[in-house]
Amino acid sequence: MNNNIASQFAGLPMKALIGAPLKAATDANAMIANAQTQFILSTCFEKDSHNHGHLTPVMVTFTLSRSVLEKDGSISKTPYEMEISIPLMTLIPINSLAIEKLKVSFSMEVKSSREIKKQTSQQSKQSRAQTRQPEHAHEFETELHGALAKSGNQSQQQSGSAHANYEVMLEAGQLPLPRGITTILDIFAKNLTPLPPKNED
């Protein structure tokens, strides 16, 4: 019987059931990555007309403020201010647009059961006494399809139950940033050196 139940799953397109959501997520991720690339190139870089159209990062100026010590060792009341240029690219959380985790989970269940009920000998005797019918007339079979409910009677139950459960769980994680982008970001981060303003001595 179990084989019969299992065969009911044979026609299910498992490849499509598992693969379709994953492919949709992958396509969406690729689309997001493409949009991000276009965004980075168009917004965070500008073409340098003097250098064969090479792309140069757009820089934005920040004011950096820090406390300094006076000659007597006390902390200065007015903090020292400098200007720093930071690549615009480093301000944008470019790696936040991606599908971080994909979980496709579904379960299928087919349940079928057959129950054969036979009255106990004591019940049969009582019943026979009441109805005065031959013994064999009080033996009966019941065939049910579905879940069996527990019962408190003493009837003998013979049940055949077939149960098939399929559970598929698929997880897809986020890939790290491409090495090229991480290298550029590292270079940018390492070169954020504060420079004093031009009008200072």
Partner: protein, 73 residues
């Protein structure tokens, strides 16, 4: 919608977390390293460039979310 991001502190390398709306409003953000004491703020001259970049990023994010939603359907 405000975008949360971070940049590495030019002095100590520890991240300085900021929010786009507050940054564009002129607020200064402190380094998360308590012994560093550095604060940074965007200069008014480059405010428009950064604002434009954040707007475009937000637009792209909304578009991508919308497209991904269509895939789900």
């Amino acid at each position: 919608m405000s975008i949360k991001s971070k940049i590495d502190c030019p002095e100590c390398g520890v991240p300085i977390h900021f929010e786009s709306s507050l940054l564009l409003a002129g607020q200064a953000f402190s380094c998360s390293n308590p012994s560093c004491g550095v604060t940074i703020s965007l200069t008014a001259t480059d405010k428009e460039v950064v604002s434009d970049a954040f707007d475009k990023f937000e637009q792209m994010r909304n578009q991508a979310t919308h497209q991904a939603g269509r895939y789900d359907a």
